[in-house]
């Protein structure tokens, strides 16, 4: 039987600004389902604080989290969570992490406070402490008034919150949040993101937020690991990734944008179409200075106008934009 540290307060979560040791480290991690590789040679380090695990559906985000929790045995590679080897110490790790699964999950026949207290007891909290924490955590996630209701009567948004509450009740050092805003209405989604942001930035809880929703990750996280087709496409601080040498322009033209996108790509620009027929063009530092006068305040715009004139394309709208995580994501997964 495995003994944990007892009768002592668990150490406070490390201050993200002071601690640089990764909370999660994967080396050459590979997971195969049948003949398909869900993860292939994934090597990544998740820093303390809030880290987004970003990728399209089927990229391997949930598989990575389930592998870190020990649900899936990797075919190759090693993993460390909070400095502990996942293969050697799965129970010690699970005692210190909280997991909010993507799918609806609850324990049947319980009301919210019983359920959360029960989860606390499963994590080793004494019954009285677990009950007290359950009440506190339910208030924190905004379910204080509904805590005596049976879980089966909860709405989708409430179910998301209760999943967060059960993940928090034992005061984990690291939270795995798998698509936490799934199925929530806009107001509920904003509140959930606010909670996640508060946990990471004010309560010193490290968290890994898996999502395919770029705004969610951008709002709550400081770092991002972009996964695509079972491999890490890019990783790093969001600000650094967004602030790559260069500038983003929003461009709207008359007619079909796809032909002009082709031309831009031939000229070596990173660009992608958005839902609103706006072309987002990334002009690198090197391209910007290429052929433009040194004193030109906006050589990128001049180059785009010059290209449009050459191709006889009418520019309806052109303005410099702030690089978003979407641009980082699009570049990372090769959409540009």
């Amino acid at each position: 039987m495995l003994e944990m540290a007892h009768d002592a307060s668990p150490p406070a979560a490390p201050d993200a600004s002071l601690v640089t040791d990764p909370v999660v480290q994967c080396d050459q991690l590979s997971v195969r389902y049948g003949k398909n590789w869900a993860l292939k040679d994934v090597s990544a380090a998740f820093r303390p604080g809030a880290v987004g695990l970003l990728g399209p559906n089927g990229a391997g985000k949930s598989t990575l989290i389930k592998t870190l929790l020990g649900f899936v045995t990797p075919d190759k590679g090693t993993m460390r969570v909070l400095g502990l080897d996942v293969a050697a110490s799965p129970l010690e790790i699970r005692a210190r992490v909280g997991y909010m699964p993507e799918s609806d999950s609850h324990i049947p026949g319980m009301n919210a406070v019983s359920f959360v207290a029960y989860c606390g007891q499963l994590c080793g909290l004494p019954p009285a402490d677990a009950m007290q924490r359950a009440h506190e955590v339910l208030y924190y996630v905004g379910l204080g008034e509904a805590r005596y209701r049976n879980l089966e009567t909860y709405s989708t948004g409430m179910k998301q919150r209760i999943k967060l509450a059960q993940a928090l009740v034992h005061d984990p050092d690291l939270l795995f949040l798998d698509e936490p805003t799934n199925g929530m209405d806009p107001k509920g989604r904003d509140e959930m993101l606010e909670l996640i942001r508060d946990l990471a930035h004010h309560k010193n809880v490290n968290l890994i937020l898996s999502s395919h929703l770029l705004p969610d990750v951008e709002y709550t996280c400081d770092h991002v690991v972009v996964v695509d087709k079972g491999a890490v496409a890019t990783a790093g601080p969001i600000q650094a990734l967004k602030g790559t040498r260069g500038r983003v322009y929003e461009l709207r033209i008359k007619g079909d944008p796809s032909a002009f996108i082709g031309v831009l790509r031939q000229e070596g620009f990173d660009c992608h179409d958005t839902d609103e027929d706006v072309i987002r063009v990334f002009v690198t530092q090197m391209a910007r200075t290429d052929g433009a006068p040194v004193h030109d305040p906006d050589p990128g715009a001049r180059m785009l106008f010059r290209l449009a004139a050459r191709e006889r394309v009418q520019v309806r709208h052109l303005r410099p934009s702030v690089p978003t995580l979407e641009d980082v994501f699009a570049r990372a997964v090769g959409e540009v």
Binding site: L2, M4, L91, P101, S105, C123, G124, P126, V137, H170
Partner: protein, 279 residues
Amino acid sequence: MPIHDQGYRRYGGTRAAVGRAWQVIAGAGIRSIISKRAFIALMLFAWAPFLVRAVQIYVSANFQQAAFLAPKGETFREFLDQQGVFVFFVTIWVGAGLIANDRRANALQLYLSKPLTAAEYIAGKMAILFLFLAFVTWAPAMGLLLVQAIFAGSFAFIRNNAYLLPAITLFSLAQVLLASSTMLALSSLSKSSRFVGIMYAGLMFFTAALFQALRGITGSSGFAWLSPGDALEQLGDVIFRLEPRYDLSPAIAALTVVVLIAGSGGILARRVKGVEIVT
């Protein structure tokens, strides 16, 4: 002020050792089941044979004319046989939803994301069923022995039939383990507790019917191993030092029970996982 600003504080209290979560699971399961009045009624009904036997022992101990009712070793064997009916109903009532309901609600991933192993989860669930089954088999049988000693005013019967203590314990254990492991394995195969109950009843009735059909055709009761219930009966006869009722080696009867329990364990090991991988 957003509701979350009311505070989230870090936990500074104690934590129990890893490895005790099965007790939490068992405790919660037991409390949930005994909160149902209909189940309490079933449990009281399951003790009715105990009351009848207790009256029988009282009468035989106090009235010479009723001495023929005095308990013998086989009285306890017959009593446990009768309790088999309640074992069947309690197994279905308590056991059918133990894992199936968790699978329906995707609760396995919640359980296994906590510091507990699949074995602890299974142990916790099995403890629930084990306790209630022991309560309708081992507990009343032992109670009868005690009642006999009290009404007779001596421990002579128990001394003369000392084998009864281990025999009752061993047979009850086989009965309870077989029922609980089989039911848990079936419960892990479905998300519907009703379907699990039907599967269990079907398994018991179909195998018994198959055995009886083969017995009718061949004239031999050597196929009793096909029916878990009959294999257990054969084993019970041997444990209680009675003439075995079937032409089946006790070793094969015991092997049948062991294989069923081990097979159920194998199914549980495969089915109780944090994630279901479909390839």
